[in-house]
Every structure is written in structure tokens, then in C-alpha cells.
């Protein structure tokens, strides 16, 4: 679903916390490590990050707690002012925006969901959801109508008169989601939206989230510290450590080719066959002719397990979603992935 013009474009972005970050950054020699910076009394929340997010893409940012995920996303929405580098939203440098423009941007283009919901305790579900509309001065009738639409969308109709403390955690986060969607944003930020929920509810909310995404097709930046969640949701995963991005790739590539020992650690316990798609294992054709019925490149190796065991061919042709054969996959490699190397 990606197109060429990135919605978010981030070039060499830095965010330092400390007494005098701008001046420090301008005088800092190249190649300072996180710990060098720390020793100078600064925390590198975001460290030289360059990243593009395409339209309709779901980028998952993943990393241990304190690795800078929230800080990075808060730089995208300019809740933090970056210390160095540039961040552009739809080609507009957000650091150059005056306060008015920034408010306008948030009122029209961005929605954000928070880990502990960030609901206003004195407002009902309806008033919370309608809050962004109220901020932009919409009249109360229209506000109500639109808010009710979104409340229905997240499955909370009937509860619109409740106050946040009268709701369960899962329901509160639905309110948070509804509020972030009410202005029909182009870009949707979610900062560990399901981390505060218990595992069963989390699963349910993830399904719900995927349903919404399928329906709405927004550009999404999703934060999690849960690798399984990342694999389940992501088009691409960016793995962060100490403010920097260690690797940014598709789930298949991250699982198959972890670039650093740190990334490897995450992937070790993953059931790879569940993640990796046939297309990721396929090698290019290089003009070779292949025969027989191709397999669907969009299937995971686990889904192909029966075929792999029964099909006697050494190399299996792999087709993309339109049915054209795009590569061949070695059956042995796939079986190795499925059952472990012999």
C-alpha cells in the first residue's frame, strides 16, 4: 500500500534532554556514543534518526522501555521540539510551524492514543470523544453527531453518558481510540495503546485495531515493547535502542536477517515459520524457467507446511498476489525454517 511520497520524513533527528541541548549538540564531535553523551549530562532520547513513513503504511516502533520510542513519536507530533535535524509532515517542516499552524495541523491531521489513555476525568465518554471537535469550535450538534459515529465504530454505543472511571481499562482505551479518530486524521500515532491491558483484552483490542485499520487505511506509527505484537501488526518494524534505530525492516527480514546482536536477541524465541512469508524466502528467477503450480507468496511458511511436506519438487515457484511468478523458494530452506535444520 506504500506510495512514493512519504507522509512522515525524518532526517538526522536528535532529541537531547539536559540543561543546554542545542548548544551541546552543535559542539558535539561526531560519533559520540549514548554513554559519552550521558557522561556529559545529557540523555539522548532520540539519536540521529532518519526514517520515512509512507502513506497508508503501518510502522511499528519497538524497543525496551527507555529506548526512546515515545520520545521519537512525540517529536513527530512536535509535543517535543527536536534538538537537531528535520522532520517533515506531508513535506511541511514542522519545526518551522508557528503555534497557530501547529494547532491547525493537530486539529486536522493527527490523532494520538496514549498508554494510560489520557482521558479527561470530568467529562463523559461523549464529551471526551468530542473534545478535539470542541477545540476547533464546531457547533455542539454536529459535534455530537460525529462523536456518536465514532463511538459506534469502536463499539461503545450505549455508554456515551458514562464517565471514564465508570469504564473498564479496555473500554477506556476504546474512548481514547475514538477520540483520536474523531477528526478523521491522516496520521495516527499509538503509544503502547494496549500495554496497560491484561493479555486477553489486549488480543481482542489488537483484532479490533486491525479491523479499524482495514476499514480506514490510515498512516500509522504504532509503539510497542512487545515483539509479538509488533510482528502481528507491522508492515515495517523499527527496532530502537538508546535513542537510535538499530534496524528498520519488514517483519520477515528482521526475523530472517537480524542486523545486530541486539535485534537477534528479540528474534531468537520467535516461531519464525509463523512470521516469514514465502515471498521473503524466494530467490529471484534470473531468467530460469520454472514449472508447475506456484505457491502463494503471501502465505506464511507455517500455512504452507502441508504443501512443503507433500510436494516433491526441490524448488517451488512463488507467485505474488496477482498470480505472476516472481521467484523460487528452495523447499529445503523452507523446511529448515519450519522444523529447524536437520
Amino acid at each position: 500500500m506504500q506510495t512514493d511520497t512519504p507522509v512522515i520524513s525524518c532526517r538526522n533527528a536528535w532529541k537531547l534532554f539536559g540543561p543546554n541541548p542545542r548548544q551541546y549538540l552543535s559542539q558535539m564531535p561526531d560519533g559520540q556514543s549514548y554513554n559519552d553523551i550521558l557522561a556529559d549530562g545529557y540523555i539522548a532520547g532520540v539519536k540521529d534518526v532518519s526514517l520515512d513513513v509512507g502513506k497508508g503504511e503501518m510502522l511499528v516502533i519497538m524497543g525496551l522501555s527507555g529506548s526512546g520510542k515515545s520520545t521519537l513519536v512525540r517529536c513527530f507530533s512536535r509535543l517535543h521540539d527536536i534538538t537537531g535535524g528535520t522532520i517533515e509532515i506531508d513535506g511541511q517542516d514542522i519545526m518551522a510551524l508557528p503555534e497557530k499552524g501547529l494547532i491547525e495541523l493537530r486539529r486536522s491531521k493527527m490523532g494520538m492514543v496514549f498508554q494510560s489513555f489520557g482521558l479527561l476525568p470530568h467529562r463523559t465518554v461523549l464529551e471526551n470523544v468530542a473534545f478535539p471537535l470542541e477545540m476547533r469550535g464546531q457547533d455542539s450538534h454536529k459535534r455530537r453527531e460525529r462523536a456518536m459515529e465514532v463511538i459506534k465504530l469502536v463499539g461503545l454505543d450505549g455508554r456515551e453518558g458514562y464517565f471514564p472511571r465508570e469504564l473498564s481499562g479496555g473500554q477506556q482505551q476504546r474512548v481514547g481510540i475514538a477520540r483520536s479518530l474523531v477528526i478523521e486524521p491522516d496520521i495516527w500515532f499509538l503509544d503502547e495503546p494496549f500495554s496497560a491491558l491484561d493479555p486477553l483484552i489486549r488480543r481482542e483490542m489488537q483484532d479490533e485495531f486491525l479491523r479499524l485499520q482495514e476499514m480506514l487505511g490510515k498512516t500509522i506509527v504504532f509503539i510497542t515493547h512487545d515483539f509479538d505484537e509488533a510482528l502481528r501488526l507491522a508492515d515495517r518494524i523499527a527496532i530502537m535502542k538508546d535513542g537510535a534505530i538499530e534496524q528498520c525492516d519488514t517483519p520477515d527480514q528482521i526475523v530472517l536477517n537480524p542486523k545486530t546482536p541486539y535485534v537477534l536477541k528479540f528474534t531468537e524465541d520467535v516461531e519464525k515459520a509463523l512470521v516469514v512469508h514465502a515471498s521473503a524466502l524466494a530467490k529471484p528467477l534470473n531468467g530460469e524457467a520454472v514449472e508447475g503450480t506456484p505457491i502463494d507468496g503471501g502465505m506464511t511458511i507455517r500455512q504452507l507446511a502441508r504443501t512443503l511436506v507433500n510436494d516433491p519438487r526441490e524448488n517451488l515457484p512463488v507467485a505474488d498476489s496477482s498470480g505472476t511468478v516472481t521467484g523460487v523458494m528452495s523447499r529445503k530452506a523452507a523446511l529448515d525454517l519450519l522444523m529447524g535444520p536437520a
Binding site: 509535543l79 493537530r106 486539529r107 486536522s108 498508554q115 470530568h122 453518558g161 464517565f163 465508570e166 481514547g176
Partner: protein
């Protein structure tokens, strides 16, 4: 080492008093700078002079007093007590109508219990024939408390926005909270005219600091995610403040409101000293003329009013919004307003026909003042009672109070200051010791040394006696869950009583004497002592008590070697509060007749001696702050060391 050195020096100075040069014993008068005159010049300058047409603050304050303030006070006075002011209602509202609305408000805030409390208070007041004087007090409260709220909110928000402003006002607020109330009264009179205007202003200023602090605390506590959610919703700065920060900080702000209301009530009662009519003035004159029955009845009214206001405002803090089912009609959504309006009108109409519902005068009232008076006086005249009170008075005076006072007065000023510095150093450390040195030297330089020492002596004696009773009471009560709760509730309730009423029981038993002052302070300060003892002991982590049990400790061993040491920091906070309360009360009690700073302060109220008034007030404040800083810094350090 340093500590020993100061102590030894102080002891040597004391022992060597007969051969000490005079200036070390007492500062000679010629050394005393004329602070009061300087202050007078300063005040004169900023005040301006209306007669001479010289511009100054007084133009602003007089405008405010004559304009908006007078107007607001006039409105509430017209509606509640029928004074001839705008909006020119013929008669004040019937008491039954006001009572009905209060009951509904009570029900709305706290259910039947609160409704009962409100109704009981109102009916008692009316039946005792005190409705009018109570409304005189309430009409000022209705102006002073909202004013305090508004000022506190604005200043609190500013302090939250600008750190430097916050840092600047913190010490000012600390001084304001220890300045004796009389020091507020005189400037109020000079800048804002005598009577309700001055009373309202003094009250407002005294009641505002907690509101400022609570506002700042509340706004700082708003969770960062709520703030970010607000920003991401595209809120402007103003929208952030009014729609995100203030509503989310509701709880703390309402706690501030509760404190403003309670302090306002306590202070309005005290404004009797500058001639404000109402409950305070009537109580004061009854006490002065020893009409105990009437004093008691008014005391009860004040206490009931205080409990009612406290409980209702606390219920407001705790009240959380609850949703209505869809399709609830408007009269059910606003049923409290509807019921209040209906009852108000019903009683209003009924009052036109039944005079009892309109106004119960002194004569028709059910007041038993005369009978109670006779009863109390008869009781006091009993030989047994007389001999008991006489003995207590004698023992206290001859064995405790007078010797202690004379001893303190005997100590040379220089040695006294060093003793205080040693105390501050030993307890609080270097900073408190430095402040102690500066503050007490200033007190010595003020020229009011002897009176300051007498004030201190009363404070110490009272807190000491209160500890003798209050701490053991707390220890015993903390033994059982049930008793802890009961006594804590009693303390909480007692703490809401306006300080003035604490004088009542003491005056009843001991008449208008020195002992009365000390005893009323003892009763007043027992409250925090008992309270914090219980809290300290109850909050000892259960693992630690259990560990002591498992080591085979007896109850006594457990108490002395585990529970008390862990509770001591909390108890110290209570002790500190007791000292602050004592300073406050000692000064108030001055009208009974003391020889301390309070008496001098009270005398200034009759004149225009602003400079002297301030010097005296600041002496009290400096002494109070010295102990405050030392003890609190000890308590904090100790708490940290114990990991509490």
C-alpha cells in the same frame, strides 16, 4: 563538636550573668533601631494621603472598599439580614427558606447524613434566636471566601506557570501563615475602612495562602498524558488551562476551597476585635461580661456551622460525577435544583403567614442562656469544684508557670539566642541554625525581647502540658483500630473549630486569668499532638510490628523499641503543628489579659500604629518560623533515613 561549643558558651554566659557586661544581658535601648518608625515612613509612603491629595495605594484600596467590596457585602447583607442596600429587599429571606435550600444542598453533596447535619445546624441556630447574628457572619463569609478562592486561583496559576514567581512568593507565604492575625487586622482597617470591609479583606488575605498552594500542587499533578492528549486535540493555551488543567486538578482545587472556607470562618469570628458584628462579636462581648450560658450557645452555633461547612465542602471534594441513563427528562437530571426551588418558594410563602418560619427573635427563642448560666455558675461555686480548680491553678502557677517564666526571663539575651541556635543546629542542622541566629537576633533588636520571651514561655508551657496529655492519649488510642478511628475523627472535627471557641471551656473553668490562656492553648494544641501520634503509630509498617512479635518482644518493648522510633518523625510534624497553633492561640488569647506580644498587638488595633503592629507581628512570625524550619527539617531527614 560545634554543638557542644555553642551550648557551653551559652551555659557560661548564663552562669556568668552577674558579671556579664550589660549589653550581653539585655540590649540597651539606645542600640534598638527604630524599626517601627522606619516601617511607618515606608507605609506612609506607599499609602499616600487622601487629604493631602498625595497618590498612593490607599486610592486603590479605598476605591475597592467603597466600590465593589462594599457593594458585594451590601448585597449579601441585604438578602440575608435585611440591611438597607441594593437590591433593596424589604425583608431578609425567611430563615426556613434558607434552611431548606441548605438541606437540599447537603443532600446533594452527601446524602441524608449531610442533609441532617445541615438541617440540624440551621434549626438550632434559628431556635436559639441567633439567626440574625449568624447571617451577619455568613454574609461576610459569602464575600470573603469566594474572593479568597478567586485570588488564590489566579496567584496559584501564575505560580504554576512561572517558577520564578513561585520561588519568590514561597517565603512570603510562609511568613504570612505564621503572622498573627492581629497583624492583618490593622492594615486592613487603615487601608479598607473599619467594619465589614476591613474584616472581609483581612479574612480573605489570611485565608488565601492554602488556596494558592493547593492550586499549584493540583496543576503540577495533572498527568503528562492528559496534557499531551489536550495538545494533540489542538487546544490553544487558553483552552488547555480552562478545559484541561483546571478541571483535571479539580480535587486539589476543591481541597483548597475547603481550607479557604474554614480559615475564613475562623477569621471572621476573630474580626470581632475590629468591631465586625456577628457571631464573633456577640461571643466576645458575652465572654467579656462572663455570660457563660449565652457564650456556650454561640460557641455551639459556631462549632456546628464549622462542622457543616467542613463536611459539605469535603463531600464536594469527594463527589464524582455520575451518568444519567439515556432519555432522563430535564427535571430528573436537575432534580436537586427543582426540589430546592420548590421548597424555597413553599417556605417563603408559608413564612408570610407563620411568623415562626420567618424570623425567631431573641424573645421567642428557645434559648436557655440564663438557666445554663445559673447552672454553670452554680457548678463553679460548688466547694469541690472551687477547690479543684483552685488547686490546679495554684499548682500550675506557683510550681510550673511562674518559675518557668521567671527562669526564661532571667537568662541573658545572648545566652538565650545561643540556646535557640544550639537547638536549631542539633535538630535541623546548619541552615536552620543560621536562620535561628538571624531571626532571634532580629527579635532582640526589635526591642520587644521580654514580651517575646513571655510569648515563647506560654507556647512552651502549653505545648509541654499538651504533650503530657495528648501523646499518651494517642498512644493508648492507637492500640485499637476502633479507638484510633474515633479519636482521629474527633481530632479532625476539633481541628475545624474556629480557634476562638477553644477559649470557652477554659474561661468557664478558670475565669479570666493567666491559667485560662495556657489551658486554652493546651486544649487547642492537644489536637495535632494526639492526631499525629495516632497516625505515626498506626502507619508503622505491619511487617515491622510482626517482626517484633516474632522476636518475642513484650508490648512495652515493641512500643518503645520498634513503634515509637518509627513514629517519631510523624509525631514531630504534629509537635511542630502544635507549636504553630500555640503561637496563634497565645496571641488571640491576649484579650484575656497577658503580658506578651499579643497584648501589645491588640493595643495597636485601637490606633493607627502600623509600624509597631508589624514589628510585633514579625517578631511572632520569626520565632515561629525558627522552630518550624528546625523541626520540619529534622522530621524530613529522619523520615528519609528510616525509609518512610
Amino acid at each position: 563538636m560545634f554543638l557542644q561549643a555553642i551550648l557551653v558558651t551559652a551555659l557560661i554566659l548564663t552562669a556568668a550573668k552577674p558579671i556579664l557586661p550589660d549589653f550581653l544581658v539585655r540590649l540597651p535601648d539606645v542600640w534598638i533601631p527604630p524599626f517601627a518608625d522606619w516601617l511607618d515612613v515606608f507605609f506612609e509612603f506607599i499609602r499616600g494621603d487622601m487629604d493631602a491629595g498625595r497618590w498612593g495605594l490607599i486610592y486603590v484600596t479605598r476605591w475597592f472598599a467603597d466600590g465593589p467590596l462594599e457593594f458585594m457585602l451590601g448585597v449579601t447583607a441585604n438578602i440575608l439580614e435585611g440591611r438597607h442596600r441594593w437590591p433593596y429587599f424589604e425583608n431578609p429571606l425567611p430563615w426556613s427558606s434558607v434552611a431548606a435550600v441548605t438541606v437540599v444542598l447537603g443532600y446533594y453533596l452527601g446524602g441524608w447524613r449531610m442533609a441532617l447535619l445541615a438541617g440540624g445546624t440551621m434549626i438550632w441556630t434559628a431556635l436559639m434566636g441567633q439567626w440574625n447574628i449568624t447571617m451577619q457572619t455568613v454574609s461576610v463569609l459569602l464575600v470573603a471566601a469566594p474572593l479568597g478562592f478567586a485570588i488564590g486561583l489566579v496567584v496559584g496559576i501564575t505560580a504554576w506557570k512561572y517558577r520564578s514567581f513561585d520561588n519568590a512568593i514561597r517565603p512570603l507565604l510562609a511568613v504570612m501563615q505564621t503572622l498573627p492575625f492581629y497583624t492583618y487586622l490593622l492594615p486592613a482597617v487603615i487601608f479598607f475602612k473599619v467594619g465589614p470591609t476591613a474584616g472581609a479583606i483581612a479574612t480573605t488575605i489570611y485565608a488565601t495562602p492554602p488556596m494558592i498552594l493547593m492550586t499549584t500542587i493540583g496543576l503540577r499533578k495533572v498527568s503528562p498524558e492528559v496534557v499531551e492528549a489536550g495538545k494533540m486535540s489542538g487546544a490553544t493555551r487558553w483552552q488547555m488551562l480552562t478545559k484541561v488543567f483546571i478541571p483535571t486538578a479539580r480535587t486539589e482545587i476543591l481541597v483548597g476551597v475547603n481550607q479557604v472556607i474554614m480559615l475564613s470562618l475562623a477569621m471572621i469570628v476573630l474580626t470581632a476585635f475590629i468591631g465586625m458584628p456577628g457571631l464573633g462579636a456577640t461571643l466576645l462581648s458575652s465572654m467579656n461580661s462572663f455570660r457563660l450560658g449565652r457564650s456556650l450557645e454561640i460557641g455551639i452555633t459556631i462549632v456546628l456551622l464549622a462542622i457543616m461547612l467542613d463536611q459539605m465542602s469535603k463531600a464536594w471534594v469527594a463527589k464524582q460525577p455520575v451518568h444519567f441513563e439515556r432519555g432522563t427528562p430535564w427535571y430528573l437530571r436537575h432534580k436537586h435544583v427543582v426540589v430546592a426551588l420548590v421548597l424555597f418558594s413553599v417556605f417563603y410563602v408559608a413564612a408570610q403567614f407563620f411568623d415562626m418560619l420567618n424570623d425567631i427573635g431573641r424573645r421567642q427563642s428557645f434559648s436557655q442562656a440564663r438557666e445554663i448560666d445559673a447552672l454553670i455558675k452554680g457548678f463553679l461555686a460548688l466547694d469541690v469544684v472551687k477547690s479543684i480548680t483552685g488547686t490546679i491553678r495554684y499548682v500550675l502557677n506557683v510550681w510550673v508557670l511562674v518559675p518557668f517564666r521567671d527562669a526564661l526571663l532571667w537568662i541573658p539575651t545572648s545566652a538565650f539566642i545561643l540556646f535557640v541556635v544550639a537547638f536549631a543546629y542539633g535538630v535541623g542542622g546548619k541552615r536552620p541554625a543560621l536562620y535561628a541566629l538571624i531571626f532571634f537576633s532580629l527579635v532582640a533588636l526589635s526591642g520587644w525581647w521580654d514580651r517575646s520571651v513571655i510569648t515563647l514561655y506560654t507556647v512552651f508551657a502549653a505545648v509541654f502540658l499538651a504533650s503530657l496529655f495528648g501523646i499518651p492519649l494517642g498512644i493508648v488510642a492507637s492500640r485499637s483500630e476502633r479507638w484510633s478511628k474515633r479519636i482521629l475523627m474527633l481530632c479532625d472535627t476539633a481541628q475545624t473549630f474556629p480557634s476562638f471557641v477553644y477559649l470557652l471551656p477554659a474561661i468557664m473553668l478558670f475565669g479570666i486569668t493567666d491559667t485560662t490562656v495556657v489551658l486554652s492553648v493546651v486544649i487547642y494544641t492537644m489536637v495535632p499532638l494526639t492526631r499525629y501520634t495516632i497516625e505515626g503509630l498506626r502507619n508503622v509498617p505491619p511487617e515491622m510490628s510482626e517482626a517484633a512479635d516474632m522476636s518475642g518482644a513484650t508490648r512495652w518493648q515493641k512500643l518503645t523499641s520498634v513503634q515509637l522510633p518509627l513514629a517519631v518523625p510523624t509525631m514531630a510534624v504534629g509537635f511542630n503543628q502544635a507549636i504553630m497553633f500555640a503561637f496563634f492561640m497565645v496571641i488571640i488569647a491576649a484579650f484575656i489579659g497577658t503580658q506578651d506580644l499579643g497584648q501589645e498587638l491588640q493595643r495597636t488595633l485601637a490606633g493607627t500604629d502600623l509600624g509597631k503592629n508589624f514589628v510585633l507581628g514579625i517578631c511572632v512570625s520569626l520565632m515561629a518560623l525558627t522552630f518550624d524550619m528546625a523541626i520540619l527539617s529534622w522530621a524530613n531527614r529522619r523520615k528519609k533515613a528510616l525509609g518512610l
